[in-house]
Symmetry: C2
Subunit: 342 residues, 2 copies
């Protein structure tokens, strides 16, 4: 290894004090652009490497935030991953942290990656997403008393910091939009009952209908695994109901089920957006390019990434801070599939 | 801080030797599932934390690989990010590394994130993607003599390890498929001349036509920024050529231009896949759901992630190892837009 360059040598080369160099490199002080440039030039020219690893050891901190996520199925893609990671990485950098990505392990192995990173002192905290009820990761991290923030809520009796999208509010916006277009028979292509996100969205669907004095028929609520095939089959069955019960609008809990439903509508010789309205959820980038383009609900992904990191950094810096859960509203994007002129 | 638990205490609790615990935790030895479980249980119960930070300091290594990428435009999404990151994270974990994600800075700031991570000893190496000619990141990392591997080639005179997709081969597959369907007038919706990936794909287009004895008219090659609007406008212009010059197939250099071209074909009352073939590139998850579904070219993303990490770990462990560039072939996916029955 080359001889270690000292901070003093950098200071001498930059023509500033040792303290100034130290504070600028540790981002503890603002100096003029010109001084900062001079210091960075000196660091470059001399090849100075502050011993961050040694500093982290003294502080017993890695300044890394662990994040792992469930891979998307190849046919659906992960519409929000890019923006979510960019947002987290930017917010983390601003607070002196970085995001460490580790692979997803499924089933009973899901905890292994978290346990390894904790046991090896590799990260200071975690961000978790795709949170479910009785989530084993939350159960584990709570028992370990290890800092984390979740994108998504879980069991109400568990107290932990989280950021979540108000899916009920998103579904309320969808249903109120359809009601305003004159639809009264509005069916739901939903997720299985045990799905936490599904329950949240369902509650908004039911509440908006109830508020409008509409009682949904049990037949209008179809539950399945969120696939294209399920969306298509469920829509076919709904369109075969007797005329007086047949829905005029199909509200899908994700975009891929909506695409299946659109195929089913067209297969019956009906026109999506004219004869039958179809809406999705998540606003996949593909939604705008479908013909007709798909009405959907967009999550405030950038804001979620910022808040998740802000809550986690807060918890790391003040472990006694009370857990906050932040609830963000999504945004309805109306397109041709639900009444925007084609 | 709590008292530091020692490896000896873990060994006593697990009923094995100190050496066994050390080797198992450092993954230097295979023991029975049962012994491994007992050691992990002891680690858990005692709350043992091996001082990885201290070990890394002794070795002067962070065991982190930095990765930053250009955010996708929200209307296109990043079809390969999920799989690419999962693959890299998995390969890195297998080699005792993790992936550190840091935010993308654009323009003249693009180097800042790399410089900071090097200056603070934060990472051992980088993976870079979306590589262009005269890429400032490659220029910088080469001058720093800092280990990196690129997903993508750059200037031929620069010697560095890389993994790339053979875009020329992908385009050759597209053109040969269209020729086999009887098309002879095959136009290209291409990128600007300075685009490295664009040049690569263009060379495959031209070579496949030449091999078939077809000389493309200059009018058939349209260059633009890879947007939906450009694809649409370029296709409109191509379809207005005199009948004898008018292309019967439009080969787009990405999926989004192909979607624009499909709109232009339909706007003229022609049927995509019947009157005019349209193909894309990248196989965005949306491609299969378009109507008609879009023929495209799929990159072997998982394999790229594995190879990128393997090359980088090799370079980290043997700095004198020769730089290898690995070229992988993409896969043509034929769908309705180019002749699969609708």
């Amino acid at each position: 290894m080359a001889r270690q360059i000292t901070l003093k040598e950098v200071a001498a080369r930059a023509g500033v004090s040792y303290q100034t160099v130290s504070k600028v490199l540790n981002k503890q002080v603002q100096v003029s652009k010109e001084t900062e440039a001079r210091i960075h030039a000196a660091v470059q020219e001399l090849g100075y490497r502050p011993n961050l690893i040694a500093r982290n050891m003294r502080q017993q901190r890695s300044r890394l935030i662990g994040y792992s996520w469930q891979p998307a199925s190849p046919d659906q893609g992960n519409a929000i991953l890019d923006s979510f990671l960019q947002s987290m990485a930017q917010a983390a950098e601003g607070a002196g942290y970085h995001v460490l990505c580790f692979p997803h392990h499924s089933g009973s192995e899901i905890i292994a990656g978290y346990r390894d990173l904790i046991e090896t002192n590799r990260v200071d905290g975690f961000v978790i997403s795709s949170v479910e009820f009785d989530d084993p990761r939350i159960d584990f991290l709570r028992r370990q008393k290890f800092p984390f923030v979740a994108f998504g809520r879980s069991n109400p009796e568990w107290n932990f910091p989280c950021v979540d999208v108000d899916g009920a509010d998103g579904m309320r916006q969808v249903v109120e939009h359809l009601l305003s277009q004159g639809h009264l028979r509005i069916a739901a292509l939903a997720w299985p009952e045990e799905s936490r996100v599904g329950q949240n969205r369902m509650s908004g669907y039911l509440a908006a209908l109830e508020k409008a004095g509409v009682t949904p028929l049990p037949e209008w609520i179809r539950r399945g695994q969120g696939t294209l095939d399920f969306g298509q089959t469920a829509a076919e069955e709904l369109l075969e109901l007797p005329a007086a019960q047949r829905p005029t609008a199909l509200v899908a809990f994700n975009d891929i089920m909506a695409i299946g439903a659109m195929s089913a509508v067209e297969a019956r010789g009906l026109q999506v957006g004219v004869d039958v309205a179809v809406t999705g959820f998540d606003d996949n980038p593909m939604a705008q390019y479908l013909r007709p383009s798909l009405t959907s609900v967009r999550q405030p992904v950038w804001e979620i990434g910022q808040q998740v990191i802000s809550l986690l950094v807060g918890a790391l810096e003040d472990p006694l801070r009370e857990s906050i859960c932040s609830l963000l509203s999504p945004q309805l994007i109306v397109r041709q599939s639900s009444g925007q002129p084609i």
